[in-house]
Assembly symmetry: C2
Homo-oligomer: 496 residues x 2
């Protein structure tokens, strides 16, 4: 739609979005290109752009426009305009309801917290990190209160990453998932099957492979790039999407799956309606949905029989000596290796979710006060033993392993498993509709999957919450059943 107020709002959102994209580019460049001695200038650049971005979205006129449009001052809004205004309200409130001193305090604490975490982790010294966590918890609660969610601060944190999400919704889903995972993990670990360890692959071949794979599955390199960074990430909208990866890992397939994962994020952004990328209509629905896209390509597609039927010959061409004595079945088992470990990021896709469920349980208890920060290491180890059957040998390998809480990013972990559930449910629908088929994949054709995701997920922008999106795309409520079914179908035949 178009109207005087609405058009003015769109122009202001456009400017804010463009400034945000400049901030993203500064961040990308910092990780990929910045000379070591240039950090001070980069800090100044980021501070100036962040302040201008904040000013653009918190401008009083934005509040007036949103308020005017909400009460129909410019006539009734159509559905799309309602989505745009709803999100402008959310972003404007976030930008204006937090006092500047609080924002500064939180940013400073986040930076201090990161360094304290890095030090504590290196020394496996939880006691030195505990005060940081206590302060971060306190700040999170204050933030929720500023936004009118003082009565449910953890739900506020969940909703921040996935709009509409709450512990009451996630709790039963994760409980059912944990219950269903236990026998799968038992079957696999007791099968006696041990995947082979592959010999390292030369970096040049890894680079060639992952470029070919990500291009073949549908990442559009005329609107994106792949570079090297210490910690792989992606930034950018569909207009300019930048992925990163790294090559110097002991697992020779790690760079490939990490790249497919990032390409999944990138293809989501590239699939969002291009003409709307300045507003909620052209932006990602949330962390969980984003993760569903990366995981679907990484796991459901990337570890499938059809995918490897197509790419195995190329893999053997690139790494003939490394794979000379590895049979096709041995290769496929290595690609789908499952082995419970204490580190979340090193986990396979079967046990990974148990690590997330652990963090969800602990975050709830930290926010409710049921668990004191000082008791965290013990609670962590007990929960890991119960869910995964392992106990870390040190806090470094346990409660100190993740960076997230160091800057107060609570409520973030659940999105990973929500993403896995959404991916599996979308996958089930695509398999049923013959959109996802090993036959197509074996011919190197992944276009039906991408087209279906474009139409059913990407095109929606932020119109739906995660739950609404799943309902609309699959015709069913979100359930862990699909993830469990998928894991059983993929892994049990391999591990019996």
């Amino acid at each position: 739609m178009t109207s005087a107020l609405y058009d003015e709002l769109i122009a202001k959102l456009r400017k804010a979005h463009v400034l945000g994209s400049v901030g993203d580019l500064l961040m990308w460049d910092e990780q990929v290109n910045l000379p070591a001695g240039s950090a001070e200038l980069r800090g100044e650049q980021q501070a100036v752009i962040a302040q201008l971005h904040h000013a653009a979205i918190s401008e009083p006129r934005v509040g007036e426009l949103v308020a005017g449009l909400e009460v129909g001052q410019d006539g009734p809004l159509d559905d799309d305009a309602r989505t745009v205004v709803r999100w402008a309200r959310r972003d404007h409130d976030r930008a204006t309801k937090l006092p500047p001193e609080f924002v500064r305090e939180k940013a400073e604490q986040g930076s201090r917290g990161f360094h304290a975490w890095a030090k504590a982790r290196a020394a496996s010294d939880f006691a030195s990190y505990a005060p940081v966590l206590a302060t971060n918890l306190e700040l999170a609660k204050r933030e929720a209160a500023y936004l009118g969610r003082g009565d449910s601060p953890y739900d506020y944190m969940l909703d921040k990453h996935d709009p509409g999400m709450s512990a009451a919704i996630i709790g039963p889903l994760f409980a059912e998932l944990a219950e269903g995972l236990a026998p799968i993990v038992r079957t696999i670990t007791s099968s006696g099957k041990t995947p082979r360890t592959l010999a390292p692959f030369p970096i040049e071949g890894q680079r060639t492979l992952l470029r070919e794979v990500t291009e073949r599955i549908g990442f559009d390199y005329t609107r994106g790039r792949m570079d090297v960074a210490l910690h792989p990430f992606s930034i950018g909208s569909g207009a300019d999407n930048r992925m990163t990866t790294r090559y110097d890992t002991p697992d020779p397939l790690d760079s490939l799956f990490s790249a497919i994962h990032e390409a999944g994020h990138g293809m989501y952004e590239q699939g969002l309606p291009r003409e709307h990328y300045h507003t909620a209509l052209g932006q990602a629905a949330g962390m969980g949905v984003h993760e569903s896209q990366s995981r679907l390509w990484e796991n459901q597609v990337g570890r499938s029989r059809g995918f490897w039927a197509f790419f195995e010959p190329r893999l053997r061409e690139l790494f003939p000596t490394q794979l000379a004595d590895v049979s096709s079945e041995e290769l496929y088992l290595a690609i789908n290796a499952v082995e419970p470990v204490v580190i979340r990021t090193a986990s396979d896709e079967v046990t990974y979710n148990l690590h997330v469920i652990l963090r969800f349980e602990i975050e709830q208890k930290l926010f409710s006060g049921e668990l004191a920060v000082a008791d965290l290491p013990a609670a962590w180890n007990a929960t890991l033993q119960r869910l995964v059957g392992l106990t870390p040998t040190s806090d470094k390998e346990g409660v100190l392993q993740d960076v997230h809480w160091s800057d107060g990013s609570f409520g973030y972990f659940p999105s990973y498993t929500l993403g896995n559930m959404v991916a599996a449910q979308l996958w089930a629908t695509m398999v049923e509709a013959k959109v996802a088929s090993d036959d197509d994949f074996a011919r190197g054709d992944f276009s039906k999957v991408l087209d279906w995701l474009h139409a059913n997920v990407h095109a929606r922008g932020k119109r739906d919450t995660l739950l609404e999106l799943v309902r609309r795309a699959t015709g069913r409520e979100l359930s862990p059943r699909y993830l469990l079914d998928y894991l059983r179908a993929r892994y049990l035949p391999l591990y019996t």
Copy 2:
């Protein structure tokens, strides 16, 4: 110094400078990294940042602060503060005295002009380009008038690139230079000596060589980078300096000398007082001085006997087959090849200045009205014949060869030759003081030259005009004598 008004001004200049540096980074990224399909977003980003940068420097409060400081409202200014305020006045006036419609018109015309030039050049069709030049001349005169220089628009253009410069100053210098160059060129071209053409060098070796060379002469890679771009350039302050080069050229040493040139620009920026890089005290004095730094390293140092005594063995190590049958003297002559050609950018350092003098003569006549745009090709060819002894076979190789005038960059060319003159005069002083010596270079030690430039050129920031800087650093007035002496000393022994 510090005072309420002054500190407030510094804070505002800092913000403007940081925004300018973000604009630079967007430009660098566009040339080095931007995916082909992402140009639209980049255009939006650049427009938003340019508008904010302009707003920061044209803010009325900046005008008030400058005016207050100029009349001593905050007490007397020390020398440094006077420099800062003088430049803030200049930048603020430039930003406020040009009406926004004029700025837009000029930008649009610049973009149209570039495309018209590219088309006209491809077709060697001057007639289609002539109206662009007429409009650009008209706009340049209007711009000068807005800035109060309507009576001397060409001097305004010269002063834009090199503060304090005018045609009355440049005219006699260039005339003396042209007169001195003629016999040198005659001696060389009639010597019968023909430098050998070297075989192409593999790119990997070129990359290794130019990294080693630029690092060895003193470019600080902890605060800078070298990347690949279609047209080599550098951006950034000493805080983050980014050079570019290209490798796919028929001349195997082209990438090296281009890189030394860019490193010269970069070392100037890196040598500016770091704590002042937000103000005139920590910024480059002008185009001519900047060019003096790049040319000094590229030519005076980079083509010297000492430099090659040190680097020749490494060059032979990297390109053993290519140089197998090339003697040291043949190599040195190839490095110092002189051959008059019709293209400025393909010219050696002896005849290069004649191409600049041609443009200076023609620009003066265009601005005075003595020469009509329609008569440009004929005037160009006649002047080239008189100065260089050659006539282009087409306008493509003649009046259409340069991009500069297409967006109205008049008065830019003279800076190149001013830079060459300054470089030679600084060099003469350094040779006299034994700061520049083939013995040091032959041992790979270039530090005395860099230290001397730091102390005598870089540390000054914008405190001096080009003429003042030369006087202060060399104890003598700017004169083409030093450039002529240098060229004679370097080239006549090689070409007799």
